[in-house]
């Protein structure tokens, strides 16, 4: 087989061109990579957004019913719709008695310690309950004169709550042996 110089040189020629092109391309790619490292590109950071395909209507009756059940069962938290809110001291007392019993509010070692701090004698207790009764009478009169004042209505509701709590606590904290004045036991809880 005879060596053909022309074919050889033509082959070399194309080979050099291909190698040159590859070399230049490699060089350009390397530069691009360097640029990516050295120059900050425009990066938009977006906080991760949780997918929530099922939009829950937390104000729906169904959701609220489940919420009431869950809060009551797990945490003893009672959610009362406005329409079912107690409207007098007696109703509050009944409502609280049920809830205190259902959730063991006044039971247990820690509760006993707390009730001990509140301990009072019958005279002081009667005096303080009389004050609440007087307040209820005064605020009720104010509400009659200004029946649409939400501030007064709120105040009266809070008086009812206090009265109800006072009545319920009577069996737990009133004792003839209790200090005459609450101030006497204050140093103990400092």
């Amino acid at each position: 087989m005879k060596f053909n110089k022309s074919v050889f040189f033509i082959g070399i020629f194309f080979l050099v061109i291909i190698i040159s092109n590859i070399y230049i391309n490699k060089q350009l790619e390397r530069k691009d990579k360097e640029q990516a490292y050295s120059l900050k590109k425009n990066i938009v950071t977006v906080a991760p957004v949780k997918e929530n395909n099922e939009e829950v209507d937390v104000r729906s009756d169904e959701y609220q019913r489940k919420l009431r059940e869950e809060m009551s069962a797990k945490y003893g938290i009672v959610i009362t719709p406005d329409a079912q809110k107690p409207a007098s001291a007696q109703e509050w007392e009944e409502n609280l008695r049920n809830n205190f019993a259902q959730y063991n509010v006044l039971e247990g070692e820690n509760a006993e310690k707390a009730l001990k701090v509140m301990e009072t004698n019958p005279q002081d207790y009667d005096k303080q309950m009389n004050h609440i009764d007087q307040s209820i009478a005064v605020v009720s009169e104010q509400l009659k004169q200004d029946p649409f004042n939400p501030q007064i209505a709120e105040q009266l509701e809070n008086q009812y709550k206090l009265k109800a709590v006072g009545v319920i606590l009577k069996e737990k904290v009133v004792s003839p042996d209790a200090p005459a004045m609450a101030t006497e036991i204050m140093p103990e809880i400092k």
Binding site: K31, A47, V56, V78, P81, D82
Partner: protein, 398 residues
Amino acid sequence: MKRTALKNEKGAALIMSYFVLIIFLVFTMGFALANTNELKQSTMYRDSASSFWIAEAGINRFMQNTSLLDAQNPLTLTIGSKNVILSKVDGATRVVTATSTYRGQERSIQIEYEPTPASIFNNTIATGFLPINPANTVSMNLSGLVAGYKVTGPSKLSGNYQHNGFFTGEAFNPPAITNVADQTQTTIKYPDANSSGAPDEFNDFVEFNRSRTDTAYANYNGEYSSEEVLYIPTNDTVNIYPQTSLVGKKMIFVHGATPGAGDVNVWFDSTWAANQNITIVSTGSVNYIQPLQSSSSNSKLNTISWDNYNEGAVLLSTHSGVTYTHASAYYGSIASLSRTNGNVFSNNGINLNLIAVWKEFSYSNPVDSAGNVPPGFKGLVTAPGAGYVSTPSNWKEI
């Protein structure tokens, strides 16, 4: 003839010359391309560096004046002939971003500021004006019968204090600082949590608290774990009794759809347990009935309400914690000795209604040894621009 012509080697030099010439030409073109690319990279690098330093200059402008974005956020600053856009987000931390674009090269720098307890936390009582006539005159009002109150620790009032009724009075030790013209010293505001451009709106209150308590919410910030928070979306009244299942909770947020909806009644305490620090937040009012946390239990029950705060007690009561209301605080019909160890912050004044009793407010530092305020108070501000340290804790390019 043809075979002879192909066989001789005349003209080979010419072909070789062309061949060498073409090789040189290809190399020349290659190097020319490489150099052009190099020049392009250098120009981009130069423009990018310019952009970076313009952004850095913008950051420095903010560090020099941290109230720069209070009036307008975001803000475009011109530095030399270049522009930089500054923006900030006040949340659990303050994040300030400076972005500059120069000849198509954008660079952004971000710095972060840790929150700091506002100086208002140094007070036993800090309060704005009560919504009574004449307007903007009275901050604390006592009505009652043979009754009074005592405040131990610093107090700052936007207006005065007054008492009425039979044989009533008050005592401040040290004397209260009254008629404080600067509301930022007496009231607490919510930052622009929903980025609407206006701080201290109801929606800021909701966003701020929801992002800390609603674990299913897209913007939940994870400050507290799901075991430590409770999110209750309801317009009804929520009654919280002492329960062991609430031990370890940090925040409970009752979210009513409108301002004033979602009231909360807190009866006695939340747990009866020791070493608790829980904050109950409501878009409505918080009614604390017969508070009773023995201070020996080292527990705090803090409350935050968009609407009024009401407290009443028929028997001896003690309460430890921070009380903050965006509206007014009412101590209604406290009929026995009542003591608050902590702080009361009421943007719209404090009203006391006492009968034959003495109410005591004593200062207790709400900031713990690690510098943390109670849950739900971190990031609250007394004024736009306040509530964060003056030196950034973190720098990064984004």
